[in-house]
């Protein structure tokens, strides 16, 4: 395979993982950083593995011209967007691929990023391919009569399902961030809520379109890791993940692979069948739309075991490592220790064939990923700004830690947490033969973790370690 130079258009731990994958695959790399990130691990690692000439200071990670100017100056041939920033920006992907000096976008083709990036459009595509989605509209509704009829149908559907207290969600289709959403428990009150949301949408969003769908309570959030080659002819899945432990703002904090553990836990439904169903649907849909890189099919599973596709993330995700650690590819040199999903993404993005089928993929044990953040779970997960004075963990064969924070002992130069980004400090992934062993190892890792610092007011730095420890005992319980 030809040697490429990848520009890593990201920061922190994901930039470090991409950088290591480039080295592993024999490709060159170029890193960018901002002044606020001068202490970040990805800057140190790039300097260590490639020298200062591989580093470019830029004004902002979110300025596409900065990224492309550095790509030209460094003669990069491909751009890896990581997650966040440009990872799901189809305009950026299109610009990368269609400019005068085209580059390879390590991710799906821009048309797929565009088509699957819109949740409503994804719902439409999924329905067209027979994939179950949340009962309700798959396009904005502008007509009150049509809205009422749809709401009645959803209430009737819930009654048929034996759901004692049905609920319909009315939301502004152009809205987001939790604004312009109301729940309706009584069909007689539907019209007034519909009108209120429609007026809100008209005033604030200049679009009266309203979405109506079933409100599902107490669901589990599952994901399927799909890996597909360029051209979209071959695709496999690397198993499922359960991402139900989240903060108040619905941000993931613990991810577990596989998504359910019917071996050691009892569910009110056939959990193995649900996992089989969502992986089959995800891979089939991937093949039908010609998906051509790594991606995540996100599902919600109701307490009755009904899976509904929520959205497709057309990028690598933070939690890719937990799927990697529990997957094995037969016949591969690295097959014994799990799959490096990022290396797979780069390999496939550069046009290499998949080289294995679903039959070659096996699964082993249970993986748990902890997202360690400087935040206060007792105060609505408010981020905590400050400096880290001591940071370290005990190395174990069953543990992987990804972090941009340097190992620090008391007395070392503290690490200032940059204020421009999420307060993510580290990802810790543990592996065990069984759920029980993985949980024990998870608790062992968190208990042995050294993480001390001071916030900007001079008080001890608050982190979510205790929250993660408390939730470890109940993961995968429905």
């Amino acid at each position: 395979m030809a040697k490429h130079t990848l520009l890593i258009a990201n920061r922190g731990e994901i930039a470090m993982r991409i950088l290591r994958a480039c080295v592993k695959l024999g490709h060159d790399f170029v890193c960018v950083y901002t002044t606020a990130d001068e202490q970040s691990g990805h800057v140190r690692l790039a300097r260590e593995l490639g020298g200062p000439e591989r580093l470019y200071r830029i004004h902002s990670y979110q300025d596409p011209s900065e990224i492309l100017a550095v790509a030209d100056a460094s003669q990069a041939t491909a751009i890896h967007p990581g997650y966040g920033f440009f990872a799901e920006d189809f305009r950026f992907a299109r610009r990368v691929e269609t400019r005068q000096r085209p580059l390879i976008f390590i991710g799906p083709s821009w048309t797929l990023v565009r088509d699957l990036g819109d949740k409503i459009n994804t719902k439409r595509i999924a329905r067209a391919h027979g994939v179950p989605t949340i009962p309700g509209s798959d396009r904005p509704i502008y007509d009150e009569m049509e809205a009422v009829e749809l709401a009645q149908t959803i209430f009737a559907f819930q009654q048929d399902q034996g759901i004692a207290e049905g609920c319909v969600l009315v939301k502004a289709s152009a809205g987001g961030g939790g604004m312009g959403i109301e729940e309706v428990f009584d069909i007689d009150k539907f019209r007034s809520v519909y009108r209120r949301i429609r007026n809100y949408a008209k005033r604030n969003l200049s679009d009266e379109g309203v979405l109506i769908e079933q409100r599902i309570f107490d669901f589990n959030h599952l994901e399927v890791q799909v890996v597909a080659e360029r051209g979209g002819k071959n695709a496999v899945h690397l198993g499922t993940r359960n991402c139900s432990v989240q903060s108040l703002g619905r941000q993931k904090r613990i991810e577990v692979a596989p998504g359910f553990d019917p071996v050691s836990l009892t569910y009110a439904f056939d959990a193995a069948k649900v996992l089989d169903s969502i992986t089959t649907h995800s891979v089939n849909m991937s093949l039908q739309v010609g998906y051509d890189n790594v991606g995540t099919w996100e599902w919600i599973v109701t307490p009755r075991g009904d899976p509904f596709l929520m959205e497709v993330n057309t990028r690598i995700q933070v939690e890719n490592g937990v799927s990697g650690i529990t997957s094995r590819i037969r016949g591969r040199a690295d097959g014994q220790h799990g799959v490096d999903v990022i290396a797979e993404q780069i390999r496939l993005g550069l046009g290499e064939p998949l080289g294995y089928t679903q039959q070659d993929v096996t699964f082993a044990g249970v993986g748990i990923e902890y997202r360690i953040l400087a935040e206060d779970p007792a105060d609505r997960f408010t981020p905590c700004l400050g400096r880290i004075e001591a940071f370290g963990w005990r190395e174990e064969p069953w543990l992987q830690v990804f972090t941009q924070v340097p190992n620090l002992k008391d007395g070392d130069k503290p690490y200032e947490i940059p204020m421009d980004f999420d307060p993510n400090l580290a990802l810790g992934i543990v592996w065990g033969e069984s759920l029980d062993e993985a949980r024990k190892r998870g608790a062992e890792f968190l208990n042995a973790l050294v993480l001390r610092g001071t916030d900007t007011r001079g008080e001890p730095l608050r982190t979510n370690v205790s929250f993660l420890l408390n939730r470890t005992q109940t993961i995968l319980h429905f």
């Binding site: 002044t35 200071r57 830029i58 902002s60 030209d72 100056a73 700004l385 204020m419 980004f421």
Partner: protein, 216 residues
């Protein structure tokens, strides 16, 4: 009591500041032929609509961006070795020695006379929309503040929280931050003048107007 005379003497001993002109982003540098010692002007006009002296061009993705002097003054040193080279964001291009104007001197002295409301921690600060609208419509000094008034939005790590004013009642006399820029903890956000001290402040202004000599 504010010793205006002493402060003016202190400023007279070092009546200038050195301003570094840095590249706002990556790109290829092209200087326009200025030399050390040349005089440059800053932006002018009622709304600062006329840019200052052109210092260099920075070309990125075939877009040529002019870089202008941000203040009037004298060019100290030019890094001519960067000519034609691709540079990183934040690279220093040249330094301008800028002599303090009367307004700047007044601003510095007033910082010691006003009640300063400071940033409690490093973050980006914004005025709440109502205060912002008042300032835009009638200027800073049209806004009265009192203890407990919701004045700022503090943004850090992508989360926003409100911040209330604490201190004496008065009018905003000076704003010391740019909305959206990072402000370090302890840095002043606004200077507030209690209404009964407005005459004292005016006295300071008059003395500086009369006693400070502008150098260029």
């Amino acid at each position: 009591m504010l010793n205006v005379k002493e402060m003016l003497e202190e400023l007279n001993a070092s009546p200038y500041e050195e301003i570094e002109i840095n590249t706002p982003h990556t790109g290829v540098v092209e200087f326009v032929g200025l030399n050390a010692g040349d005089r440059v002007t800053g932006p002018s006009g009622k709304w600062l609509e006329r840019p200052g002296t052109l210092l260099a061009h920075l070309t990125r993705e075939r877009n040529k961006k002019p870089i202008y002097a941000t203040q009037k003054g004298q060019v100290m040193d030019i890094r001519s070795e960067l000519e034609g080279k691709f540079v990183e964001a934040g690279e220093r291009l040249l330094t301008i020695r800028h002599f303090l104007s009367k307004e700047e001197v007044i601003g510095r002295i007033l910082k010691k006379a006003l009640h300063l409301f400071c940033a409690p921690e490093r973050a980006k600060y914004y005025f709440v929309p109502e205060i912002d609208a008042k300032i835009k419509a009638g200027g800073e000094q049209s806004v009265k503040v009192r203890e407990g008034l919701d004045m700022f939005i503090v943004s850090r790590m992508k989360r926003e929280t409100p911040l209330s004013y604490s201190g004496p009642e008065g009018i905003i006399y000076a704003v010391y931050f740019q909305q959206g820029d990072n402000v370090d903890g302890g840095q002043p956000l606004i200077g507030v003048c209690p209404e009964n001290q407005l005459s004292l402040i005016q006295d300071v202004v008059n003395r500086v107007q009369g006693e400070w000599e502008e150098r260029d």
